[in-house]
Amino acid sequence: MGCAESLRVQAYFDGEVDAVSAADLERHVEHCAECRALLQDLEQTRTAIRRDLPPGRAPPELRARIMQALDRETALNTPRGKRWGRTSWRTRPFWVGALGGLGSAAVAATLFLVLSPSLTNPLLDDLLSAHVRSLMPSHLIDVVSSDQHTVKPWFAGHTDVSPVVADFTPQGYRLIGGRADYLEHQRSAVVVYQHGPHVINVFSWAASSALPRNTTRSGYHMAFWSAGDVQYCAVSDTGWDELLGLVRLLRVRE
C-alpha cells in the first residue's frame, strides 16, 4: 500500500468524503493502478464479509434472559431501606383520589421538601421543586389530553425541545397531558403520566450539563436518561419498578 492517497481512497470507498474530494479521488484512481486495485480489494472484502457472514441475531433465550434481568434489576433498584423517609411515602395511600387529593398532598410534599437534607445539585433541586409544584391544584397540566398527537404539537409552540410523547395506557401509564416548565435556563417540556394513583412527570430539556445519576430525594425517585441532545428525568413517588417501567417504555420509543 504505497500510494499516499490510499487512506483517502478508502475513505471514498466508505462514503466518508464530500462530493468535491470524491471527484478529485475518482480522477486520481483513473491514473493510479495501485488505487484501482485497492478499490477492487476493498469491494471484494466487503462482499465476502457481507455475503458469507450474514448478520447474526441474538438468540431468543438471551433476549428473554435480558428482559428478566431488567425486571430483576428494577426490583433490586427499589431501595428497601428507609432512606429519605421514603417508606412512609410509598406505603401511605398518598395520592388516593389522585387529582382530587392533590392539595393536601402538595402541602405535605412541600413540607417534606423543606425538611429534607439540603440538595447539592441545583438541577435535582429544580426538578424536585417543579414536580412538587406541579402537584398543587391546577399547576399540573397546561394541555390536557390523552392523545399524543395533541400533546406533541403543543410542545412545539411552548417549549424548546420536542420530547417523546406516547400513551401507554395498556401498560398502565396513562398519558394525561403536557406542561411547560422552566429548567436549566430554557423552556423544558413535561409530559405527565398517571400510574395508578401516582403522577409521573417526565421532564425533558436540551442537554446542557452532565446527566445526574438516578437518585431518590425526599421520597421522590428521579430517573435520568438522554436521547440524542435531549435529557430526560422522570420524577414520581411511585416505586422504582413502576418508574423505571415507564422509562423503559419511553426509551424503546427513541
Binding site: T45, R46, D52, L53, A58, R65, E73, N77
Partner: protein, 170 residues
C-alpha cells in the same frame, strides 16, 4: 435500546470467544446502559451501546487476567461457529458457502482485536468513521489506518488460504 440488541450480540460474539461469554457481555452491557451509568454522548444510540459492550469486554478481560483465570472446559455448543451463517436451500452451494464462511470467520477471528473490531463495526454494523471512533475510543485517523491494515491483512491471508489450498486442512 433493545432495537440494538442484535448488533450488541454480534459485536459481543466477535469480541469474546465463546457464545456464553457473549451472552453475559450483552446482558451486562444492556443493564449498564439501562442504569444510565454511561451517559449517551451524541445521538448515535447504537454506537453508544456498542461502546458499552466493548467497555464491559475489556473490564472482564482485565478481571480475568488479574485472577489468573483458569478456563473451565469449554462446553461444546453444536451451534458454535455456525450460528452466524445462513443456510441456503441448495445443499452443494450451501456447503461451499459454509466452508468459505468458516474460513473467513476464522481469518477474521485471527486478526488482532484492534483490527478485528474496526472491521466488524464498519463492514457488519455499517457504522461510519465517527461512530467507530466513539466505540473504540480512538481518533478517526487511527480508525482509518486500523481499518486499512485490517482489510489488507484479511485480503492477504484470504489469498494465501485460497492459493495454498489450505482450505479444510485447518
Amino acid at each position: 435500546m433493545l432495537p440494538h440488541l442484535n448488533a450488541a450480540y454480534r459485536f459481543a460474539r466477535w469480541l469474546s470467544h465463546s457464545p456464553g461469554d457473549a451472552d453475559d457481555l450483552v446482558q451486562e452491557a444492556i443493564l449498564r446502559a439501562f442504569r444510565g451509568f454511561d451517559t449517551l454522548r451524541g445521538s448515535n444510540v447504537k454506537a453508544w451501546l456498542l461502546a458499552i459492550v466493548r467497555n464491559c469486554h475489556s473490564t472482564a478481560l482485565k478481571q480475568q487476567q488479574r485472577r489468573a483465570f483458569v478456563p473451565l472446559p469449554e462446553e461444546h455448543d453444536p451451534q458454535d461457529g455456525y450460528a452466524m451463517i445462513a443456510t441456503t436451500p441448495d445443499p452443494e452451494s450451501a456447503s461451499i458457502r459454509r466452508d468459505d464462511a468458516r474460513a473467513l470467520e476464522r481469518l477474521m477471528s485471527a486478526l488482532p482485536e484492534e483490527h478485528r473490531e474496526v472491521l466488524v463495526l464498519r463492514e457488519i454494523e455499517e457504522l461510519d468513521y465517527r461512530a467507530i471512533a466513539t466505540v473504540t475510543n480512538v481518533p478517526i485517523g487511527t480508525v482509518m489506518s486500523r481499518l486499512a491494515r485490517a482489510r489488507a491483512t484479511l485480503k492477504a491471508r484470504w489469498l494465501r488460504e485460497v492459493e495454498g489450498e489450505l482450505r479444510g486442512v485447518r
